[in-house]
Amino acid sequence: MGAGRGAGGAGEPRGDPGIERLIMRILFFAHLKNVTGQAELEWPNSPPLKTPDLWDRLTREWPALAVHRQATRLACNGEYTMGDEVFHPGDEIALIPPVSGG
């Protein structure tokens, strides 16, 4: 699947205008929800985060997430990321464990 990013320009906040621009939302699905005990969280006033910084912050808070990192893909604003990414306030970031639909 193509993994281009649609919203926003480099270095600019993306997402909805207003206060939403200041919040980075993180979504957890399937068994990752059990690991974190929640479906989503918000990081207000987060600085831009590179992919490794995001994982560092997540695994500091939930060390048990670390074992899932290898198999987990990231999506930003509904599109898969390619690996190295910079996440901005206003982005919706999803941790996508291996899928099993159908």
Binding site: M1, G2, V99, G101, G102
Partner: protein, 138 residues
């Protein structure tokens, strides 16, 4: 190719393939229904629970069908994926494809199902054991 994608928490009712092809171009109408089996990991089950990241799941399915439609020239594709608790024997997914010839329709269907299981953010999150569905006995 005309594409329609739907996520629903309601039972999937087998439906007509998109719309009648009044132009008479369709020579093949292919349907696939993915049904919840009564066994999961060698355990008898009553139902499976599915979860989706809805907006992204719809978007990825749309993009996937559009991409596959470039390679396999079909006329239309319609997908309905159910989420929530789905009892054994009921449909988790229904896919209907029309094409001028059967070969393209079968090819698109097979590739879509393979790709769906790799790309589309939908998960089987829980098996509900058969015993859990029995009335409680005191």
């Amino acid at each position: 190719m005309r594409v329609e994608v739907q996520l629903t928490a309601e039972p999937i009712v087998p439906c007509r393939l998109i719309e009648p092809d009044h132009a008479g171009r369709a020579g093949a109408c292919v349907e696939f229904t993915g049904v919840v089996r009564g066994e999961e990991k060698e355990q008898r089950i009553a139902a499976l629970e599915y979860e989706a990241y809805p907006d992204m799941a719809r978007r990825v399915m749309q993009a996937l069908l559009a991409r596959l439609g470039q390679r396999h020239r079909c006329l239309s594709a319609r997908v309905i994926h159910r989420v929530g608790i789905i009892p054994v024997g009921e449909a988790a997914i229904w896919l209907g494809i029309t094409a001028s010839h059967r070969r393209e329709a079968f090819a698109l269907l097979a590739e879509f199902m393979d790709q769906l299981k790799q790309e589309v953010p939908i998960w089987k999150t829980r098996s509900i054991p058969f015993e859990a569905q029995r009335p409680h006995q005191s």
